[in-house]
């Protein structure tokens, strides 16, 4: 019956014309389910987004001895790898990664650099090309042998090493083999790298930050088989979990900082240092283990002998370390979400006073915030090291670059740059060090999620923290740019890397949390994803599926719009119609219709013919019934019909007939392509306001144009879409009714701040003032 009441609605102002649009094709439907894009669920990966009941992953344990040869800036290493084949398939060969080979003259990275614009071909660029022609930077393999030290057949293919197994490794089996290698440490002051050394001319010492330093097992997965795509530059690492025992031999006056837990403190630390560590165990704030003064003194002369530091790390996917005689070392054991974690920082005096003030605090803050959204930090150590690398993450340890100026002062940019980069790199422990996504394939999974959590952590550091990524409105200019690829693009093919793999996914997740799912639902589902994939290897589909599975919200449209297209958000208010209820009373309705008819202008010919004598005037016989009939006159019949209609209505329907509501039909247009919820602020003529949050499904029958009926208690004065700018709506011009062209930032500024009248007035006042002063002066 309700529909009948609505059928009786009569338009007061205008007729709604439902535009006859061609329905979207199958490909264009933004609500089309993702099923055909996502891999079919399997025993390994469940349809819920969780690891399947037969989920497996490989495992590689490492026992490594490495020596840092300081005067040659070289590493000499030997490792024994025990590889466990947990896959259901036998393996005929094993693949390992030799990442440093990217720096070889004939590497894919070097040879695939494309021509710069020839007009801009600088001496500098030419210089680069020439130097790389014979620059030797790779891993030099000295031996590959089996457990009995018998040589194994192997082949180096660019950044990959294949070891041919004498007999295939069965499912469930394990194999042990040895590799020896040398490694030239790159001068990171001259070459931008993720791993290298920095030489300080003033005191003749170096800081070494070492990563990708040993041949590492490639990942072998249920999704890609061997992940042995060559390392070109951006697609970082795809690795297996395992246990590490690493013995690092360095000059005996070096301080070594590393993934894992130090096994032989008695052999490498002084009694005083061990005593200070004991105090730091129960301290609230970071304590110096090596003070700035001690580090300064240590720089003065070089030790003669060597020391071997032994570290052990369990269940990590990689291993990195740093070494220098310049290191100051501060530490505190911090309890975060029930776990005791050693938070420690290593930095030279050049990092002071910034580093002792902010580094370790930033680590503790990161653990506290990230653990709340994911899982308690499971490792015993979290370290931040200052050296030549700008910002790079490894398990338990990360390298961060910002330093104050020589005089110890620093800019705001350096301060917040340091805190942000430490939060970001320590945060990478969660993604991808523990939630072990495949970076060679997808940069955005770990970088996007980590940038999102970084934003949450920054917002809890201090009020008005200058965050760069997170707020929706910051993404608008990127999203309308023409030089884009979808987020779901392989790491090496991304355009606008930072916006694409960091900013946009971080913003998307924040919008999901604040606008689409709400904090409670999002946080629950996101935590579920983190915990399901802790120490496992998720794919994009596992994230997409879990977020839906744990929330009961179909988000396929969101993933499609934000992750698979380069469309942007732009929702417009097209038109607003005010409707009235039919009272069913012919005396009222027909009178209204008559009044409306009377308002219509008379036909022009009729008007100009007013003094023409008409034929019916000349021959009145021609006049009959129809010359007096007015269909808008109320007849007895009308009244009877109406009475009958009303009589047939039920009591509740009669009550509805008297409804004192304003009926508004609001037409929305989707100009940008990405569908989003409509956040509509309604201002009433009586001065009240409300905000309607209409879920994105409002677009499900037509993704370009929809109309929403609002039963308002009062007349609407104005409407605004997305008043808090939370949806990344790119064009605010069309967000208002009555239409209110929003001035571009440029115009807004120009007309806000440049007021010629005021300026003239101020100038005039300024001219007057000196005169007055003169008068006031005692003569």
């Amino acid at each position: 019956m309700v529909s009948r009441i609505f059928l009786l609605l009569v338009l007061l102002f205008t007729t709604i014309t439902v535009a006859q649009e061609i329905p979207p094709t199958y490909e264009q439907d933004p609500f089309r389910q993702l099923d055909e894009l996502l891999p079919t669920p399997s025993d390994y990966r469940a349809a819920s987004g969780a690891p399947g009941h037969r989920y497996w992953q490989q495992r590689a344990d490492y026992d490594i001895n490495v020596r840092l040869v300081e005067d040659r800036n070289a590493l000499i290493g030997e490792e024994t790898i025990t590889y466990h084949n947990n896959s259901p398939m036998p393996l005929e060969y094993l693949w390992l990664q030799l990442d440093q080979n990217r720096f070889e003259p004939d590497s894919r990275d070097t040879t695939t650099r494309t021509t710069p614009r020839l007009k801009q071909f600088t001496y500098k660029y030419l210089g680069e090309l020439l130097i790389r022609e014979d620059f030797q930077g790779g891993h030099k393999i000295t031996k590959v042998t089996d457990a009995d030290d018998k040589p194994l057949d192997h082949a180096v293919i660019e950044t990959m090493l294949r070891i041919d197994l004498p007999k295939s490794l069965p499912s469930g089996g394990q194999v042990t083999f040895n590799i020896g290698w040398t490694y030239q440490i790159i001068d990171a002051k001259r070459v931008r790298v993720r791993s290298g050394h920095e030489y300080f001319e003033e005191d003749g010492n170096s800081i070494y930050e070492l990563a990708q330093w040993f041949p590492r097992m490639c990942a072998y997965t249920d999704v890609n088989g061997w992940q042995n795509k060559q390392f070109i530059r951006r697609g970082e690492f795809s690795l297996e979990f395992g246990d590490y025992r690493v013995a690092i031999t360095t000059p005996d006056d070096h301080i070594v900082s590393s993934t894992g837990v130090l096994q032989n403190p008695d052999a490498v630390l002084t009694e005083q240092q061990r005593e200070r560590l004991k105090q730091a165990e129960t301290a609230e704030v970071p304590q110096f283990i090596v003070t700035p003064e001690e580090a300064k003194a240590n720089e003065k002369e070089k030790g003669k002998g060597e020391k071997t530091w032994v570290f052990q790390a369990e269940n990590v996917r990689d291993f990195a370390w740093a070494s220098s005689r310049k290191f100051i070392w501060d530490a505190v054991q911090h309890t975060s979400h029930g776990k005791d974690v050693w938070c420690m920082s290593y930095y030279p005096n050049e990092g002071e006073p910034l580093w002792s003030k902010y580094s370790t605090h930033s680590i503790m803050h990161t653990l506290d915030v990230y653990s709340r959204y994911t899982f308690p930090y499971p490792y015993p150590v979290a370290i931040s090291v200052n050296g030549p690398v700008g910002g790079m993450e490894y398990p338990m340890i990360c390298f961060n670059g910002p330093r104050p100026d020589k005089d110890g002062t620093y800019s705001k940019r350096i301060k917040y740059g340091l805190i942000s980069v430490i939060i970001h790199e320590v945060g990478h422990n969660y993604f991808p060090m523990i939630v072990n996504s495949d970076e060679r394939q997808w940069t955005w999974i770990d970088e996007g999620i980590n940038s999102f959590l970084q934003y949450l952590a920054e917002k809890e550091w201090e009020t008005d923290y200058p965050s760069r990524r997170g707020p929706a409105k910051n993404m608008v200019e990127y999203m309308v740019s023409t030089d884009q690829v979808p987020i779901m693009t392989n790491s090496e093919s991304i355009l606008q890397f930072g916006h694409n793999a960091y900013g946009k996914p971080a913003t998307a997740l924040n919008i999901l949390r604040e606008t689409i799912m709400g904090r409670e639902l999002f946080d629950y589902a996101f935590k579920k994803f983190s915990q399901r994939w802790m120490f496992k290897r998720p794919e994009p589909a596992d994230l997409f599926r879990t977020m839906e599975d744990a929330s009961s919200i179909d988000l396929d449209w969101f993933w499609r719009g934000w992750f698979y297209t380069t469309n942007h958000v732009d929702i417009a208010i097209d038109r607003v119609h005010l409707l009235d209820l039919d009272s069913l009373d012919p005396d009222i309705e027909k009178a209204e219709d008559k009044a409306k008819r009377d308002q219509e202008p008379t036909e022009i010919t009729e008007t100009r013919n007013s003094d023409v004598k008409k034929r019916t005037e000349r021959y009145p016989d021609l006049i009959d019934f129809y010359n007096h009939y007015d269909p808008l006159d109320v007849t007895v019949n009308d009244r009877e019909e109406a009475a009958k209609l009303i009589k047939n209505l039920k009591d509740d329907e009669k009550a509805l007939l008297k409804t004192q509501r304003q009926f508004y039909a609001i037409d929305f247009k989707n100009e940008g392509g990405v569908i989003m919820p409509i956040i509509l602020k309604v201002n009433y003529e009586n001065g009240t306001e409300e905000t309607l949050r209409l879920p994105a499904e409002i677009w499900r029958s037509n993704s370009k144009r929809i109309s929403k009926l609002i039963l308002a208690k009062d007349r609407i004065a104005s409407l605004q879409i997305d008043p808090l700018e939370e949806t990344a709506d790119a064009n605010l011009d069309n967000n208002h009714w009555p239409s209110r062209p929003v001035k571009s930032r440029f115009k807004l500024f120009k007309y806000k701040d440049k007021n010629p009248m005021r300026e003239a007035k101020e100038a005039a006042e300024a001219e007057e003032k000196p005169d007055r002063k003169e008068e006031a002066k005692p003569k």
């Binding site: 680069e128 001259r190 910002g391 993450e393 309308v480 606008q496 440029f746 500024f749 120009k750």
Partner: protein, 169 residues
């Protein structure tokens, strides 16, 4: 001395790796909107306040410089810097006289406003140069969305691509 600088710079960038994945966010982005009535471009650019402060402090040695969007002497520094690094060259090689409108601060973002009256309806042959922060930060990328009516084209500026032709609309 100049030659020496070149060699040093080239070494710096050798084996260029945008390695540090942490913050590849030395990016400015802006809009150049063509105004048909006045035959001019209205340009608004957003970039990091801290980046801008840093380069101005380096250039002027004014350690305590803070861009609050209000101080007039600070605005003069910003203006000088921006107009020296952002320009449009006419087909005949001369520069379009840029008009400084001003700047404002919005959280961590600085918004710059500059107007370029081309004095002709023809964009063909005009070249936009956007050098902002490029010499200060190795990985700086500047992007400008040029819009004319409904048409839009993104131009990208980097160390090796400091200039771009305006679209021939």
């Amino acid at each position: 001395m100049r030659a020496a600088t070149f060699i040093l710079l080239s070494l710096l960038a050798l084996v260029t790796t945008p390695t540090t994945k942490a913050h590849p966010h030395n990016v400015s982005i802006g809009t150049a909107e063509w105004i048909e009535e006045t035959h001019s471009f209205e340009v608004s650019i957003k970039l990091s306040v801290e980046d801008l402060e840093e380069i101005l402090i380096k250039q002027t040695k004014q350690k305590d410089l803070i861009l609050d969007g209000k101080s007039k002497p600070a605005e003069a520094l910003v203006k000088t810097y921006v107009l020296a690094h952002l320009s449009i060259t006419k087909p005949d090689g001369t520069m379009v006289p840029a008009k400084w409108i001003g700047y404002e601060i919005d959280d961590a973002t600085a918004w710059l406003y500059i107007e370029f009256p081309l004095g002709t309806p023809k964009l063909k042959g005009h070249v936009l140069q956007n050098n902002l922060l490029i010499d200060a930060f190795e990985q700086q990328v500047n992007m400008i969305n040029v819009t004319k009516g409904k048409r839009r084209k993104t131009l990208k500026f980097r160390k090796r691509d400091r200039t771009q032709k305006l679209p021939i609309w």
